[in-house]
Each structure stands twice: as structure tokens, then as C-alpha cells.
């Protein structure tokens, strides 16, 4: 990697490379694609939350005029799961349905209306089973068990890790704070509904164009489910009309249209309705939390103990990772000498939860940052100062052995404190107005693929020809975040050309090297490093050829502004394409590949593979609110946010990611809920989504969104491309707790739940008026059979990052 002080492409505010196509309406999303002889698929979904399938009769539907094919679970003997350890899904249910909306059968017909009409002719006989409605229900009712493989009853997964003796640390604290929190589930709600088009290509290979964030994982699993060699399957990730994690799982409909296209020899398309997108879900887990933290009188943490209980929904999805993420990233932000976390994910009869922006971390982050606000008040300290005193150190290891690289958190706190006028506002604004502060940290990509292997996590190929054209191939997926622009910008920066000179070919398993996908904020760092490696290789060839032409050494060659010239005599220069010609004459056809493998990580204990990242981003946020005490209505007046991005690659895009994160966060903080209605059990087994529509699921409008003041703090990380870290997820994390803290500053009540609704505020105010605790939140934490934790000494207590028997005393 080249460290340079001045850059010609990166860091500037710039039109993204795919910007023109988007504003012209020319970007081709999956549902915009049509092929000759294309037919359409619709899915029949379960009306029961939990039932055995007794019988499926498709004969009437198959005979329906215009229907070409009907598929059922019998057509898919092989199951799948995004994580290799939990392959618990089938494209169409076999034997059992587990939520209202679980796909049972599919009809393919000449048009969508015909397919839909014929669904009604499929007869399915069900034998209903007891409904498991939520996490508490799952703990109380081990039977009927949703999945036989679960850890016990309806507990999918239990996890417990302890880094140093936490009870001892709490006993040694001046004060111990114990609080309960609840974080409601929410969904991604990309404006684009998932769509997929499958076809047999002229050579007989199967191709699938889909709104997916993970073409590589889909490629592997499609081959397995269809029983085809992977080389005979092609997955094209279309530009996604928003993802936010909602398209990072494998979708039933993707396998269905692929199988149908195979059977019919015709292109088959499906586009989910909005309601079906709510059933696909894989969104934020509802999590109940207990957090105990010991502090010294001067505001330092002695130890922290976190318990989480997740409502996972009907299938595993990324659930094993999700439960880990509720604990794993808690120790990255502040100095926490000892840390213990216990997690539990339950199975319930609802659409599966999975990764939504921040995956598993916003919930415990909310708990910790609200609790820090309580701690600051109790210790009579300013909450910003308290945090500044405990910010984690650069180049250190976290309590749970993750390597922290650069950390610009203190600067982030300083920025938002200064810009918001924090010191003049906190505890000083008139009644009804308040400010709150919170921080957060997130990974720049997880250091492991979801299936264990020793291969690179991202590959980039670059091709130059004598016209001067530069084409870059990457498996990365453009979900709106700007990954194509990152790719073009990094290559252009290395080669001294403009982004317009770079053509990106991305997200096509038939054409592009493997990239694991757009999830865990991994693309900028991982694809970026691979792109730089590839570009630097061809630059080496160009430099050698140019040096010969210009009669100097390769070290004296500079690439800038579309020219290749001598640093000692800039007038002696080649146009970029002339340098390419010189190099092609010298070396033959020009091309190179680059790949990225993260540095080895130090968390060697069992489970230490979830959470390590090459670099962590940091964010601080101040939210100012006005709260109407008569109605409980919260108005967010302004948000100040500073994000340590390492290095900004495109200022316009980076700021857009930050503001967009604030937006999604405020939606969760104030109004969004993936909530369900359980009908009276005496009358009905029904458990249905309360609001599976854009009208009833409340995504804030332009009128509900405050202006956001963004600062990008640049503390380059040695592992990032030109020092860059992630910006797509981290900025979401501090917003919800900052808002809850601001509400407290405004009116003196604690809402220990997300969303913070006006109804909860009025209830808390009533309690306050009655002299009860001025709080709304969970009253008790359910009994969860957490196992004995794996005991790992933190780095400063010795050991090598592996678990030991607790009684063994190191040092």
C-alpha cells in the first residue's frame, strides 16, 4: 500500500460512477429485466404460524389455464442455510410450516395475475401446532419444538463467555449499576422489493439475476440445492434498490425460479409483494437485556456483565452470528477490564430475524450507552467527559482479544460536543428540551468467511488494453452504498486517471473474482485492498515500460491526471494510453489480480472468530430533542454526528452513508416496529404481522427527518485502503441511545426501550408524578439457562487468547 499525503481522486466530493444511470432511470434492477418467453412465478404461503403439512394437492392448479408448472416441497429435497452449521430451510416447506408467510408451493404461469389466481386452487391440509409467540413463550414451552437440532427445546443457541473474573471486578467497584432494556425488532424496508429472474443460458448453464447482496454465497448454495456443478450456475447480483442486510440471506424464491427455469427451459421471474418482503425479513432481533456494570467513583469501568435474550423467529438465518454480535462488539469502544456476556436466541413462529444494519450490536449498544448516561448522572460527571475518560486505546487489544487499530473516538466526541454546543445545553436547556450523547463502534468487515477456508476474502481483477481502457472485475455487490465507486476511485487513484476512465464489472459469478458480498461493512476495506493490490501490479508494469521510454528508473515515474511522467522532469511524459501501449509491447496483454486476506486474529478461544475485523470505525453523536409533556411527543430538532472513517474516499457518499444511518436509526428509535398480533389463544392460533405495509410500518418521511450535521474524522487505519474504514453501519449505533438520553435530559424520564413512543413517555411521566421510578422498560429478565461460561483471561491478565479452566490463576 502506498501512503501519500495528497490524493487526486479520493477524499473529494464527487459524482459517483453509477450516478448518471440512476438519475436517468437506466439502472437495471432485477424486476426491470425481461427476457423473451419469460413467465412468472408466485408463492403460496402458509396461513398458519405453526402447523404440520398433512397433504398438498396441486392438481387443480396444474390444470389451470395458463399455468405451466406447480412446485412443492417435494421438488426440493435438499435444504440450505446461510450458515453451514444451520441448514434448516427449504425453498418450499416440507412437512412443517413455521410462520405465517412460510412458502409452501409455487405456481409458474404466463403472467403474474394468472399465477396468483391459480394459487387459490392449491389445496393444502394442515394440522395446526401450538404457536410459540415470543422469546418468553419459547423459554416456557420447549414443545412443540420448532427444530429438532436446537440446543434445547425452543432455544436455538446459548452462548457464554467470560473475560476475567467479572464478579470479582464488580465486587471491587465503588458502584454497580444494574438495568434492564428492551430493543424492539425492525425491518430493512428497502424500497425495492426482492426480485429474481432465472433462465437457462444458450450454453445450458443456469443463470439467476437477483436483488441479492451475497452472490457468492448464493452461488454455492444454489449449486447444492439444485444438484448442479457450481460451474454450471451463474449468479448475477443486480444493483440492489436498497439492502441494509435484508438481501444478505438466501431467499426461497431464488431457488424456486431457478428450479422452474430448469424444468421449463424458459426464463422465470418473480417479484415479491411488499407484504412478502416483510415475511422474508431477516431484520433486527427483538432483544431483552440485563446489563450490570461496575464503576469507580472517578468514572472508570471495573467490569461489565451483559445478558441478552433474542427472539429469533422461525429459522436460524445468521442467528448464531447474531447472538454472538449482541456480545462480541461491546468491548471495542471503552476500556472494560473484565467482561462477561451471555446470549440466548430462541425460535418463535415469526419470520426469521437476521442481520440489519449494525447486526446484533445496536441493541446492547443502546443498553450500554443509556446506562453510561445513568452512571454519569450518579457520579455527577458530564456524560461526554465520562466517555472521554474511558475511550479505548489505539493499537490495543480489547478485553475479548480483538485488535483495535486506529481509533478517532475522542476526536469524534470533541467534534460533536463543540458543534452542538453541548456544554451550554446539557442539563441547562429549559424543561422540555434536552440533549443526549452516545458513541459506538463497528467492524470494517468480519475477518472470516461464513464457511471456513483459507482463501482470500476478496479478489479483484484488472484488465488494460491499448486504448487506455481500464476494466475492473470484482464480485462485490452494489447495494446503493457506492461499492462500484469505491472500486473505480481506488484504481483511478493508483493509476493516476479519472474514475470515468475505469469501467466496473461487478457482482457476476460468471465474470468476476469472488468477493464474499456486501455485508458486515466489509467491501471498502476488503475489496478496496484487493483493488489496490491489482492496480499496483499493473502500475508496476506500466512504470517499467514508461521508465524505459522516458529513460529513467521506475522509481522516478509518477502517475497523475491521466499522464505518466518523470518526477524530475514532468514535461517528459506519456499519455496514460501511451504508457499502456509501451507496457503491452513489453509484457504482452496487460492484466493483474489482487486479493485480500485479513491479518490473523488473536482471539483464539472458541467463538473468537465472530467479531474480529481488520479495522473498527468509531462514532459519536449528539441528539437534541423537544418533548411535549402534554402529549409525550418527541421532536428531534437536530443531530450532530462525527464518524471516524479512517480516510474518506468520496465525501458525498460518505456523508450520505452517515445521514442515511441517522435516518434509519431515528426510524428505529421513534416509530419502526416489526411487531406481531397474537389473537386471543382461546379463539385462535393466529400470530400475524401487525403492519406488513409501507403505510402501517412507519418509515419516516422527509418531514420527520431533522437536519444532520456530519463530521468525518480521518484517523487512517494501517489495515484500510489508504487508511479507509467502514461508514455504512457504525453511524447508526449511537443515535438511538443518544435520543433516549436526550429525552431524559428534556423531561427526566428514562425510556429503556426502543422505540421511544409518545405513549411510553406519558406513562413514564405518570409514574414520575406518582413518585414511582420515572421509567418505562422491562420489569424483569426471564430465567434463561445460560451455560457455564467459557473463561478467557483478558490480554492484561496473561494467557494467549485461549480459554482456560477458571480455577487456573495466571500471573
Amino acid at each position: 500500500m502506498t501512503a501519500r499525503e495528497r490524493y487526486s481522486v479520493i477524499g473529494k466530493a464527487r459524482r459517483r460512477v453509477d450516478g448518471r444511470a440512476k438519475v436517468l432511470g437506466q439502472t437495471r434492477f432485477a424486476d426491470d429485466l425481461t427476457l423473451p418467453r419469460m413467465v412468472h412465478a408466485k408463492l403460496l404461503r402458509s396461513p398458519h404460524p405453526h402447523a404440520e403439512i398433512v397433504r398438498v394437492d396441486t392438481s387443480r392448479a396444474a390444470a389451470w389455464p395458463g399455468v405451466l408448472l406447480v412446485l412443492t416441497g417435494a421438488d426440493f429435497p435438499i435444504g440450505y442455510g446461510i450458515l453451514p452449521v444451520t441448514p434448516d430451510e427449504y425453498p418450499l416447506a416440507r412437512e412443517r410450516v413455521r410462520y405465517v408467510g412460510d412458502p409452501v408451493a409455487a405456481v409458474v404461469a404466463r403472467d403474474e395475475r394468472t399465477a396468483e389466481a391459480a394459487l387459490a386452487a392449491i389445496e393444502v391440509e394442515y394440522r395446526p401446532l401450538r404457536t410459540i409467540a415470543d422469546a418468553a413463550d419459547a423459554l416456557a414451552h420447549p414443545e412443540p419444538r420448532l427444530h429438532a437440532y436446537s440446543e434445547q427445546g425452543n432455544i436455538h443457541r446459548l452462548q457464554a463467555l467470560e473475560f476475567g473474573d467479572v464478579e470479582e471486578a464488580l465486587a471491587g467497584a465503588d458502584r454497580v449499576f444494574e438495568d434492564l432494556y428492551f430493543y424492539q425488532g425492525s425491518t430493512h424496508l428497502p424500497i425495492e422489493q426482492h426480485a429474481a429472474l432465472a433462465a437457462l443460458e444458450p450454453d445450458g448453464r443456469l443463470a439467476l439475476w437477483s436483488s441479492t447482496q451475497v452472490p457468492h454465497y448464493l452461488h454455492r448454495m444454489m449449486a447444492r440445492v439444485l444438484g448442479r456443478p457450481a460451474a454450471r450456475v451463474r449468479i448475477v447480483a443486480c444493483p440492489n434498490g436498497g439492502g441494509f442486510g435484508g438481501k444478505t440471506d438466501l431467499c426461497n424464491h431464488e431457488f424456486v425460479v431457478a428450479r422452474a427455469a430448469e424444468r421449463l427451459g424458459r426464463p422465470v421471474k418473480i417479484c415479491l409483494t411488499r407484504e412478502e418482503v416483510f415475511y422474508m425479513h431477516r431484520g433486527r432481533h427483538p432483544v431483552t437485556m440485563r446489563l450490570r456494570t461496575g464503576v469507580t467513583q472517578d468514572g472508570r469501568i471495573t467490569g461489565m456483565h451483559l445478558q441478552t435474550l433474542l427472539d429469533g423467529g422461525a429459522y436460524a438465518s445468521y442467528g448464531v452470528a447474531s447472538v454472538f454480535y449482541t456480545g462480541a462488539l461491546q468491548a471495542m469502544t471503552y476500556e472494560i477490564p473484565r467482561y462477561k456476556w451471555e446470549g440466548c436466541r430462541t425460535f418463535t413462529n415469526k419470520p426469521p430475524c437476521g442481520p440489519k444494519r449494525g447486526h446484533g450490536t445496536p441493541q446492547p449498544r443502546f443498553a450500554q450507552e443509556v446506562q453510561l448516561d445513568r452512571i454519569a448522572e450518579a457520579l455527577e460527571k458530564d456524560p461526554a467527559e465520562l466517555r472521554l475518560g474511558i475511550v479505548a486505546k489505539p493499537g490495543s487489544l480489547s478485553t475479548n482479544w480483538f485488535r483495535i487499530g486506529s481509533i478517532g473516538l475522542a476526536e469524534c466526541i470533541d467534534e460533536v460536543v463543540t458543534r452542538s454546543g453541548w456544554r451550554g445545553k446539557h442539563r441547562r436547556l429549559p424543561q422540555g428540551r434536552g440533549v443526549g450523547i452516545a458513541c459506538g463502534s463497528y467492524m470494517s468487515g468480519v475477518s472470516h468467511p461464513i464457511y471456513r477456508n483459507a482463501m482470500p476474502l476478496s479478489g479483484v481483477q484488472i484488465l488494460l488494453d491499448r486504448s487506455g481502457q481500464v476494466t475492473v472485475f470484482s464480485g462485490a455487490t452494489e447495494v446503493g452504498q457506492g461499492s462500484d465507486d469505491v472500486l473505480a476511485a481506488l484504481v483511478a487513484e493508483v493509476l493516476g486517471i479519472g474514475t470515468d476512465d475505469v469501467r466496473c464489472v461487478t457482482g457476476d459469478t460468471a465474470l468476476t473474482p469472488v468477493d464474499l458480498g456486501s455485508y458486515s461493512s466489509r467491501v471498502t476495506l476488503m475489496m478496496g485492498n484487493a483493488a489496490i493490490a491489482a492496480a499496483e501490479r499493473v502500475r508496476g508494469q506500466l512504470a517499467e515500460a514508461a521508465a524505459a521510454k522516458l529513460e529513467t528508473t521506475t522509481e522516478a515515474i509518477v502517475f497523475a491526471e491521466g499522464r505518466v511522467f518523470r518526477t524530475d522532469d514532468p514535461a517528459r511524459a506519456l499519455a496514460f494510453h501511451e504508457a499502456v501501449i509501451a507496457a503491452e509491447e513489453r509484457f504482452g496483454t496487460l492484466g493483474a489480480v489482487g486479493s485480500y486476506t485479513p491479518p490473523p486474529h488473536t482471539a483464539l478461544y472458541k467463538g473468537g472468530g465472530i467479531g474480529p475485523s481488520p479495522a473498527y470505525s468509531y462514532t459519536a453523536c449528539v441528539v437534541e430533542v423537544a418533548v411535549d409533556e402534554a402529549t409525550g411527543w418527541v421532536s428531534v430538532e437536530k443531530v450532530w454526528i462525527a464518524h471516524d472513517i479512517g480516510r474518506t474516499l468520496n465525501r458525498t457518499l460518505a456523508e450520505g452513508q452517515v445521514i442515511g444511518s441517522v435516518y434509519m436509526a431515528l426510524g428505529e428509535a421513534l416509530m419502526e416496529e416489526q411487531a406481531f398480533r397474537r389473537l386471543p389463544p382461546k379463539l385462535s392460533d393466529a400470530l400475524v404481522h401487525r403492519a406488513p405495509s409501507m403505510l402501517d410500518y412507519k418509515s419516516p418521511t422527509a418531514l420527520d427527518m431533522p437536519e444532520v450535521d456530519v463530521v468525518l474524522v480521518e484517523d487512517p487505519d494501517p489495515n484500510g485502503p489508504f487508511g479507509a474504514k467502514e461508514v455504512g453501519q457504525g453511524p447508526l449505533l449511537p443515535v438511538m441511545p443518544a435520543l433516549a438520553n436526550a429525552v431524559y435530559d428534556a423531561i427526566g424520564v428514562r425510556i429503556d426501550e426502543v422505540p421511544v413512543t409518545p405513549g411510553k413517555i406519558l406513562r413514564a411521566l405518570e409514574r414520575k408524578a406518582r413518585g414511582e421510578p420515572a421509567r418505562v422498560g422491562p420489569e424483569h429478565f426471564p430465567d434463561v439457562p445460560y451455560p457455564e461460561p467459557l473463561f478467557v483471561p483478558p490480554p492484561w491478565e496473561g494467557g494467549d487468547g485461549r480459554e482456560i479452566r477458571r480455577e487456573v490463576k495466571l500471573r
Partner: protein, 334 residues
């Protein structure tokens, strides 16, 4: 995509022609104005009329006259209504129209359509598969009201913004059928029955709304909803007062929307206001009496108890605005 079921589309050029079609086709035919309520309902298969009678090409339905009173063609779009300078005297209606849904929907939706809006319920405004997953409900294909399982009556909620505004303004509607035209006071146009909430017969077309002269009156509309756009009201308060030069109230009409299966006038408000001025005590007393009439049930957005709790506040905002307070900052928040 959500798609429409089959139907036959008729596009009459005159009101008489439309009335003849409706008379001939019976209840299987429905008038289609802006389509912003009916078409989503049809896509969800809540209603599947065999014939739609599009009213958009009937010129007379968009006329808008103001003599001593205001006569508004039922086909007037909400956008046109909100933007019309003649509406200045009818603050409640202008504000209500401007707060319906979104700019695009106001460009499409008509006043008549908003007044005939189907009652809404979170157990009913769902797709056909969703409704089947709960065994359907009283309002459509089922026999249980899931909002109140003991209820024999459908409690779906009237969600029109313009209806309470026009009730407060004392409007009347004209209903045209092949048999002629009848006029009905708007407050009598609605029944307290979520399944059958209009007195309009299937063969009748709501053609115009007559609003009495508002000389000396001042009116306003406050809408409670989650977001600054798109959402239906979870409570609507329309208030109109006529005061003498000393500020003493000579006449007052306060109506609530989204508080039951029909918009309704609250007579207790008039009793509490007439003969008094809009002082704090009067406002507080009136607001309490009006709010007592709001009996929200759990079939729309927000916690039911909260909707009940804040009704008093919303009414008092409306009355405070009528006495001339600048509540712009609070309004912007809601």
C-alpha cells in the same frame, strides 16, 4: 406486484349517464373517482366490484362556485381544494384537505372520495392471505370482530380528514341517482357502523358539497398522526366558532374524526362554549368534554390509551388556535 382483479370499466360523460349505469348494474357497480381508496382496497381484494364507473370525465363534478355559500363539486381534487384562495374563509376544510396523505395522492384524490372513504381497521386493511390467516373478520368474510371479540358491531374507524372539517362547517352533500337529487346534512350522511357507514345507496353518486356561508366564523382542523405525511388520522379535531366583537362565542361546532365509525359533532362542545370567550378555563373545560367523547379502540396506529390521553390536548390546541394563538411550532411537530 399487487394487481387489480378483473372488472368492467365504464366511462360516462354525464352525471345522468353515470346514474343510469349504477341503477342498471346494482350493488356490483361502484363509482370510481380518484381511485386512491378503492383501487388499493381492490388490490387487497377487500372489494371486488364487477363494474367501475369512472367519474373523471364528467365535467360538472369539478365545478366550484361561491355565492353566499360554497358549492364544491365532489370531483374537485384535494390539492385543488387546498390551494384555492376561496377557501380562506373555510380554514378547517383547507387544512384538512392539505393534510390528507401526500402531494401525489392529493393530486388524485377527490373531495367526494375522501367523504366516502371506506372505514379502516388494522384487521381489515390487509391482503386477502393475511385476512385468511386470522380467519377473516366481521367486516369481510368472517364473523368475529378481533378488535372487540364480544362486539356484534364492526368498529372500523372513519378516517376521513375532510369529513369532520365539513361537519364542523355544517356542510350538506348532494346525492344524485336516476330518481333525482337529494340533499343530506353531512353529519347525517354517516352511520355508526363500520360495515355500512354511509347512508348513500349504491346507485347514488355524491355530486357536490354545499358549505354554508362562513361569514363571521373561524375554523380549524388538527390532525393526529405518526408521520408528517402519508398517514391517516388517528384523531381529527375540527372546530368552528362564531364570535361577536367582544369575543363572546355566539355559535360553535366541534367535530371529531377517527374517533369512531363515523365523524360526529360534539353537542357538549357547543354548550360549553356558547356565551363564553375562549379563555383558558373555557378551553380546558371544553377540551375535557369533547375528549370524553373520543373512544378509540385498538384498530389503528398508536397505543389506544395514548390516543385517548391526548385527545384533550389536541382539542385545546384547536381552540387555542381559534382564539388567535400562533401554534405554528406545535403544528409543525404533529
Amino acid at each position: 406486484m399487487m394487481r387489480l382483479p378483473d372488472f368492467e370499466l365504464r366511462r360516462p360523460r354525464t352525471l345522468a349517464e353515470a346514474a343510469t349505469i349504477l341503477a342498471g348494474e346494482g350493488p356490483a357497480a361502484r363509482p370510481l373517482a380518484g381511485g386512491t381508496d378503492l383501487l388499493p382496497n381492490m388490490k387487497r381484494r377487500q372489494q371486488t366490484p364487477r363494474v367501475l364507473v369512472a367519474l373523471g370525465e364528467i365535467p360538472g363534478l369539478r365545478t366550484f362556485t361561491n355565492g353566499a355559500a360554497l358549492a364544491i363539486g365532489a370531483g374537485t381534487t384535494l390539492a385543488a381544494l387546498a390551494a384555492d384562495t376561496r377557501m380562506a374563509q373555510y380554514g378547517a376544510l383547507a387544512q384538512a384537505a392539505a393534510r390528507v396523505a401526500s402531494p401525489q395522492l392529493r393530486n388524485q384524490a377527490t373531495l367526494g372520495g375522501n367523504l366516502c372513504l371506506d372505514t379502516r381497521c388494522s384487521y381489515y386493511d390487509q391482503s386477502e392471505p393475511w385476512r385468511r390467516a386470522i380467519g377473516c373478520c366481521l367486516k369481510k368474510d368472517g364473523d368475529t370482530c378481533w378488535v372487540a371479540t364480544a362486539s356484534r358491531r364492526c368498529v372500523a374507524v372513519s378516517s376521513s380528514d375532510c369529513a369532520p372539517a365539513l361537519v364542523a362547517l355544517g356542510a350538506r352533500v348532494r346525492l344524485v341517482s336516476r330518481e333525482g337529487t337529494r340533499e343530506v346534512a353531512l353529519e347525517d350522511f354517516y352511520r355508526d357502523d363500520g360495515m355500512d357507514h354511509l347512508v348513500k345507496r349504491p346507485d347514488e353518486i355524491l355530486s357536490a358539497v354545499d358549505v354554508p356561508d362562513a361569514q363571521g366564523w373561524r375554523s380549524t382542523y388538527w390532525k393526529l398522526r405518526r408521520r408528517g405525511a402519508i398517514d391517516f388520522p388517528v384523531l381529527g379535531v375540527a372546530a368552528a366558532v362564531k364570535r361577536d366583537t367582544a369575543g363572546t362565542i355566539e355559535a360553535a361546532r366541534v367535530a371529531l374524526g377517527a374517533a369512531g365509525s363515523r365523524p360526529f359533532l360534539v353537542p357538549q362542545a357547543s354548550e360549553a362554549l356558547i356565551g363564553r370567550t375562549l379563555d383558558d378555563a373555557t378551553i380546558a373545560a371544553t377540551a375535557r368534554r369533547v375528549a370524553a367523547r373520543a373512544k378509540p379502540v385498538d384498530n389503528t396506529d398508536f397505543e389506544t390509551r395514548w390516543r385517548k390521553d391526548v385527545a384533550t390536548q389536541l382539542v385545546s390546541y384547536a381552540l387555542r388556535e381559534l382564539r388567535g394563538e400562533d401554534l405554528g411550532a406545535i403544528r409543525r411537530r404533529f
